[in-house]
Amino acid sequence: MVETIIFFIFAGLAIGSAISVVWHKNPLYSAISLVGVFISLACIYLTLASPFIAITQILVYAGAIMVLVIFVIMLLNVENEEEKPTRLNYLYALGGILGLGLFAQAVFIMYAVTNTGAKLPSAEATMGLTKSIGTVMYTQYLLPVEIVGFMLLMAVIGSVVMARKAEVKRLELVKTRED
C-alpha cells in the first residue's frame, strides 16, 4: 500500500517534470526539470527493490551527466529558442502524431498487462543489493564490463579530440608565435 502511494507521487512528479523538459524554451530550465525526472525515477527504483540502481541513477545521471550538460549550456551561452521562418513546421505535426501513437501504445500496454493479472512477486532478500549485482558483474558478465570500460576510455579520448580547436589553427598560432 505504501509502495503504491509512493509510486503515484513520484510517477506524477516524473511525468510533470518530463512535460516541463519539453515545454520550456530555455535549455537551463529544461535541464533542471530533467534532474527532477531523474530523482523521481530513482525513488521509483527504490520501490522496485533496487537500491544500487537508484543510487547509481542519482550519481551518474543527476550528478555527472547533468553537470556536464549545464556546463555546456553555460559555456555556449545558448539563448532562448527563436521562431525561425525556415523551420520545418510539419515536424510539430509529426511529433504530435508520433507522441499520440506512443501514448496509445502505453494505454494498450496498461490494458493488456492488467488483463494478464501480472502481480509483482515478493522480492528475494538479496535482490538488487550491491553485493549480488557485483557478483554477477564480475563473474558472468566480466567481458561486457571490460568492453564498457574500454568504451568509456574511447569516449574520453573522442570527446577531447572532438571539442578541441582545429589542427590548422593551432599550427598557425604556433607559427605566428615563432614569428
Binding site: 525515477l41 555546456v72 492488467t114 554477477v136
Partner: protein, 100 residues
C-alpha cells in the same frame, strides 16, 4: 503491491514525451536531454521486469545503459561544442552544409 502494468505505463508515457521532445526541439542540447529522457524510460522497463522475474541481470543491463549514456553525453556534447565553434549556434536547423 503495485502492478507491473503501472510501471510499464509510466515508462511508455515518459518515452512518448521524450519522442515528442526530440522531434520538436530545435536546440541540439534540448534534443540531447530528451534522448536521455527516453533512455531513462527504457531503464525503468528493465528494472520493472527485473523485479517481476526476481532476476538481477536486468539491473546489470541498466548499468550498461547508464555507461553508454555517459559516453554519449561526453561525445555528444563534444560534437555540440565543435558545431557551435563553426556556426556560433546550437540550432540543429543550421547544420545544413550537405543540403546545398
Amino acid at each position: 503491491m503495485t502492478d507491473l502494468a503501472l510501471y510499464l505505463t509510466l515508462s511508455g508515457i515518459l518515452f512518448a514525451i521524450g519522442t515528442v521532445g526530440v522531434i520538436t526541439k530545435r536546440n541540439a542540447i534540448g534534443m540531447f536531454m530528451c534522448i536521455e529522457l527516453m533512455l531513462n524510460a527504457v531503464n525503468l522497463t528493465f528494472v520493472a521486469f527485473s523485479r517481476y522475474y526476481n532476476d538481477t541481470n536486468g539491473q546489470l543491463f541498466v548499468f550498461m545503459v547508464m555507461a553508454v549514456a555517459a559516453c554519449e553525453a561526453a561525445v555528444g556534447l563534444g560534437i555540440i561544442i565543435a558545431f557551435f565553434r563553426n556556426k556560433i549556434s546550437a540550432d540543429v536547423d543550421d547544420a545544413s552544409i550537405l543540403r546545398n
